[in-house]
Point group: C2
DNA sequence: CCCCGCTATTCCGAGAGTGGAACGGCGTGG
DNA sequence: CCACGCCGTTCCACTCTCGGAATAGCGGGG
């Protein structure tokens, strides 16, 4: 199975040849929107893996300063593997905040609104069902039966512990509700767009180039 | 350094002896509030690690059905290691949705509101700063300069790609804003509670027992 | 003049996590 | 009676990820 970093590297290389450093810069800057980040070492390892699998090839690219850069470009196999992934079935992740969905959405967008609409709908269905299944935390705190409590502190402590847990639980519920709300509005938007332009076609877009360098948002 | 699962197992065992299955059940049920989940195999491995380090000891506990269960209990060293972690400095994670904060909050709650208040404030400061540093995604899509664009599709495609990216970006911003809002309200709440009860004291609380079994919320 | 930050890549050990599968006995509902 | 779900543990082969350090040359600011 293809991992997140597989997709990200393939997806970025699909837009044209890039160096490991380009990928790193892109991730440091925009990774937040995907909820993903990666160590430098990992990125280069990943690019190495792509070459091993024959999905990318690197050509040396001399730079004015420092060591030569390696420009990685997708091979035909790589392109095929990537497109095969886009067509592969999507299974929403258990953890709602995992990058899976965002990665899928970002790197499937060249297929047009209809594809994304389907994706969003699948995610929405899954998250709604998941949301309904949630068991309140306090049940885990209070306990409903058998075990005779060992040594519960005074009532104040128990009350405080419950309070704290409920606070934390509210975080989860709030974020889940927000996520669902966003999915709903995205569904709306995409439905309109899909109706407007029915024909999809692939097109590349660039990574941030060195001209717009500055802070790497670390 | 202690990992999340280290903390979770230590924190749960601190409340009294439990089997690997108990931990698994707890995680499946309530892990969502922490944004964390783990494979069964991993839990047992983790418990084994605790024993290796001398932080827990297991005693066989014959059950009516199936194989004997192993009841894991914290040792004195384990308790110390756990409390040392509670006192250790907290460094917010890069990725806002990583379980780090929630784990910290949940398993520090026995220290009382003041501790959590400090924790929440640290997290809040960090997330606000991070939020301000975000670079809009479209800058990464449009590109500002040097590289001559290879073959950009027609304007429609570019417009659509931007549209899709902005949609995804709005998800990130919305969730970040929601998270910050929650942190603010939590700060409020904790400030009140801390003012009300100044004296902290540790107290245990139970895992969900078998009486309240039912669905494991998968 | 010196230090810092940016570009750019490489290497490595350790262990965390994935994604199953296997086994067995009990109780329950159909 | 049979199937299924619950309880409970174990094992495995990877693969991914973490974290840090090392190297190097250039340019700019103080």
């Amino acid at each position: 199975m293809l991992q997140k970093l597989d997709i990200i590297t393939l997806g970025l290389l699909r837009q044209g040849p890039h160096t490991g450093y380009d990928v790193r810069r892109w991730l440091n800057r925009y990774g937040w929107a995907l909820g993903y980040s990666a160590q430098t070492s990992q990125i280069y390892r990943q690019l190495g893996r792509l070459v091993e699998r024959g999905w990318a090839a690197s050509t040396p690219d001399p730079r004015g300063s420092g060591p030569d850069a390696k420009l990685y470009a997708l091979t035909e196999d790589g392109r095929e593997a990537f497109e095969a992934w886009v067509d592969s079935p999507y299974q929403p992740a258990e953890r709602p905040m995992d990058p899976d969905f965002q990665v899928r959405m970002y790197f499937s967008r060249h297929r047009g609104p209809a594809t994304l609409l389907e994706l969003v709908r699948m995610e929405l269905r899954f998250r709604r069902a998941q949301h309904d299944r949630r068991v309140p935390l306090d049940a885990g705190l209070i306990g409903t039966g058998t075990g005779p409590r060992a040594d519960s502190g005074d009532a104040d402590d128990a009350a405080w512990a419950l309070e704290a847990s409920l606070l934390l639980e509210s975080r989860g519920r709030l974020l889940a509700a927000t996520l669902i709300a966003w999915l709903e509005s995205a569904e709306d938007r995409l439905a309109h767009l899909a109706a407007a332009l029915p024909a999809p076609s692939p097109s590349p877009d660039p990574l941030p180039d060195s001209a717009s360098r500055k802070a790497e948002t670390r």
